[in-house]
């Protein structure tokens, strides 16, 4: 077994072991932390499809994270208020069913990513970074000034949405759901990486002129990857909103974009389990540094600087060595 595969397995099992141990020790807060890791990792897996596979440095993924979160609120609040979701052109009721909410979040995230990606991918490099950042900020301001869903204050969803056969209010059940979705997304990312699509995307990232000369247009490939990426991150947003039972514009803020990117890079860009390792490290840092000092983000900043300047390749890169092409 390759060293990275072994490491991935260890990470996956460790993330599963923490909530089980916490349940045995009656520490429900640790289960919630593990759930948060799984959901943020899912957002990171989404970003990593754009960043790692496609080489697109998107600093606007909070847009999709937030779209997923708000989609949850849009679908669930009518039920909470005993109102229909809409009455025109057809009468449609809201829903408290997670599978339906997830579907809504994925579709909304994909549509959002299609619109933002189609415009942003007309450029590249530093323009792309600035434009994705700007469009993310646009949605942030829109959420703040649009009063229907709480505006600046956000909106609370009092009861967690349901999933057939599970008691989602039980932290362990909810963790299991988030973990299963994460594994499914990891499987998706893995298959994408090894597919003809992933190959073409890797080629377009590493040698764009060459790929065009082979008859492959990078634009549509990248756009497709960006849409998938946005959809996965939106799914994470819907789960995150359900974890907190609360949605606010801060999900759309560019700090969220930065944090999703930071955790991908902490773990290792383009590495399958990079976002999982990165999310775990991020939450651990937040938990322990946050316990030591109110200003823990100062130390986070210094640690990040150290990693960028001196330890490239992230956690997975440090532990498993350089990435090798797999046949």
């Amino acid at each position: 077994m390759r060293r990275e595969t072994l490491l991935n397995l260890v990470i996956a099992l460790a993330l599963l072991a923490v909530p089980l141990a916490a349940q045995a020790l009656d520490e429900p807060f640790a289960i919630t932390l593990a759930t948060k890791v799984a959901i943020l990792a899912l957002a990171g897996v989404g970003l990593n499809i754009a960043l790692g596979l496609g080489g697109m440095v998107s600093l606007g993924h909070a847009a999709f994270f937030g779209i997923g979160g708000y989609m949850m609120a849009v679908l669930a609040t009518p039920v909470q208020a005993y109102e229909p979701l809409m009455t025109w052109p057809i009468e449609l009721a809201g829903t408290k069913s997670m599978p339906l909410i997830w579907l809504g979040a994925v579709v909304a995230g994909a549509v959002g990513a299609l619109a933002i990606g189609a415009l942003s991918l007309r450029t590249s490099g530093v323009y792309f970074i600035m434009i994705t950042l700007a469009f993310g900020q646009m949605l942030y301001y829109f959420a703040i000034s649009w009063p229907a869903y709480g505006g600046e204050d956000g909106i609370a969803i009092y009861v967690r949405n349901g999933f057939p056969g599970l008691n989602t209010l039980d932290p362990l059940h909810f963790f299991a759901l988030a973990y299963a979705v994460l594994l499914a997304a990891l499987w998706l990312a893995h298959r994408l990486g090894g597919s003809p699509f992933g190959l073409a995307l890797a080629g377009a990232r590493q040698a764009p002129a060459r790929v065009a000369a082979l008859g492959i247009r990078p634009y549509r490939l990248k756009l497709a990857a960006f849409v998938l990426s946005g959809a996965v991150t939106a799914l994470a947003g819907a789960l995150y909103a359900d974890l907190n039972r609360f949605v606010s514009p801060s999900m759309l803020s560019w700090h969220t974009s930065g944090e999703i990117m930071v955790l991908v890079i902490l773990g290792g860009v383009g590495r399958l389990f990079g976002p999982v390792a990165g999310a775990a490290l991020f939450i651990l840092l937040e938990h322990f540094l946050g316990g030591i000092s109110e200003y823990w983000q100062l130390f986070l900043g210094l640690i990040l600087l150290g990693i960028v300047l001196f330890a490239r390749g992230g956690l997975i890169g440090t532990l498993a060595g350089r990435e090798v092409p797999h046949d």
């Binding site: 994408l192 090894g194 597919s195 003809p196 699509f197 190959l199 065009a212 492959i216 247009r217 092409p325």
Partner: protein, 251 residues
């Protein structure tokens, strides 16, 4: 005479006051190697860019198999059967030799939007790729990342990728550049066989190779073709000698 596979008609391109391509016309016919030579800065790279579709001409046409492709982009021309290699190797450094060539096969056949299939368990894809890897002699290096290849190996990978496109015409930009004498000799043999698959427009500085391989030579100086003809005609052309070749290189 058979119809040319690739034809360039009265191409013009200026960058400001500089005429980079000045009324260039040339043809590439089935089975031939047509060499394009000229001093540095003569506009060879610009001409290749115009043919491949990276640059748009101010005037003139590019025809592939008799069809006007002047308005089409790089990818469309590649799909129409134009394979080019790059002067500075432009392979994907993080992908293996096999993956690079598989990518070229994929470009020619389509299917880059298959999302869930395993690319390298696709027999048809890897089989076609391995055939070309065998031909250029990189079989033992197929799993090595292209970025780790030696210079000469990378030139051969470039060629394998062009071959894998199953093209109607090759445009090869200095395939021997930076190769040692042995490598250049092997490459010459390889190109000699290749012409039967598709004709080659060969830009090359290695005059020995050009004189050995070319059926026809066109000489490009300051964006214009100043002479065109057989090897013997070009060797004997006094204008070419003063403009470019220099007395001693012909002896």
């Amino acid at each position: 005479m058979t119809d040319p596979v690739l034809e360039v008609r009265n191409l013009h391109l200026s960058f400001g006051a500089l005429k980079a391509t000045d009324d260039v016309s040339l043809t590439l016919c089935p089975g031939e190697i047509h060499a394009l030579i000229g001093p540095n800065g003569a506009g060879k790279s610009t001409l290749i860019g115009l043919i491949a579709g990276n640059l748009a001409p101010d005037a003139g046409q590019v025809l592939l198999n008799g069809r006007d492709v002047t308005a089409q982009d790089v990818a469309a021309r590649a799909q129409a059967g134009l394979a080019r290699s790059f002067q500075v190797s432009a392979v994907a450094p993080g992908l293996s030799v096999l993956q690079n060539v598989a990518l070229a096969v994929q470009g020619a056949r389509g299917g880059s939007f298959r999302l869930f299939r395993r690319a390298l368990s696709d027999r048809a894809l890897t089989g076609a790729a391995m055939t070309q890897i065998d031909r250029v002699g990189l079989t033992a290096r197929r799993t090595v990342p292209a970025g780790d290849l030696a210079h000469g190996e990378r030139r051969r990978l470039e060629l394998a990728m062009a071959l894998a496109q199953a093209p109607r015409a090759f445009v090869l930009d200095e395939p021997m550049a930076g190769m040692g004498p042995d490598g250049a000799r092997e490459m010459t043999t390889l190109l000699d066989e290749l012409r039967h698959e598709a004709p080659i427009l060969l830009v090359e500085h290695d005059m020995d190779a050009v004189f050995r391989l070319a059926d026809r030579i066109s000489v490009l100086v300051s964006g214009r073709i100043i002479a065109s003809g057989t090897v013997a005609q070009i060797r004997a052309n006094p204008e070419v000698q003063t403009a470019y070749l220099g007395e001693e290189r012909l002896e």
